[in-house]
Symmetry: C2
Subunit: 105 residues, 2 copies
């Protein structure tokens, strides 16, 4: 079953858009690593938090992606911007609009 | 800017998969209403909650979709299954993998 991950990441004041840019930079390499969705946003009520919603072919694809050079570069770039506040929620994805037609696990 | 909405919906015990089916049934009509993503899942730790992540071309598209016959039918079908516990979070979407190339607001 497809694997989802919903994360919120707090940034130091004023650095939200810098973090958004870093997170969107690695977008192209994600697809070949088994990522189906990687969507970055924020809530109007909270200027210093970034929300990321990810869907992967499987949890194994997600876990393996953490070792990719692009991922490690993004993490290294992000760390100085983070406040330390974060949440993460794993999900099992049933389906929906916007996913590739065939789950390829 | 694209509009996101993240919802959790509690179901009466044992009705999670019934709700998932109802939510996925309307999938086809959503695209023409301006919906770019509509992903349904659940968390392993909570058997009676459904998580929905939506991205729309704009908040206006989302709001207008609530009046569509398919949406009203889905809501009518869902209501008997719900526990009443729910959360909702509006988001502004910066971009990412899996969205159509051009924001068409």
């Amino acid at each position: 079953m497809r694997y989802g991950y919903l994360a919120t990441m707090g940034t130091k004041p004023g650095h939200r858009d810098d973090l958004v840019k870093i997170l969107l930079r690695g977008e192209n390499g994600l697809r070949s690593a088994g990522c189906e969705l990687y969507v970055v946003g924020h809530a109007e009520s909270d200027p210093d938090t970034v929300w990321v919603y990810e869907v992967w072919r499987s949890k194994a694809h997600h876990d393996a992606s953490l070792a990719l050079p692009e991922t490690r570069a993004a993490i290294a770039g992000a760390i100085p911007l983070l406040s330390g506040e974060r949440t993460g929620q794993e999900l099992l994805i049933a389906g929906g609009l916007g996913l590739p037609a065939e789950p390829r696990t």
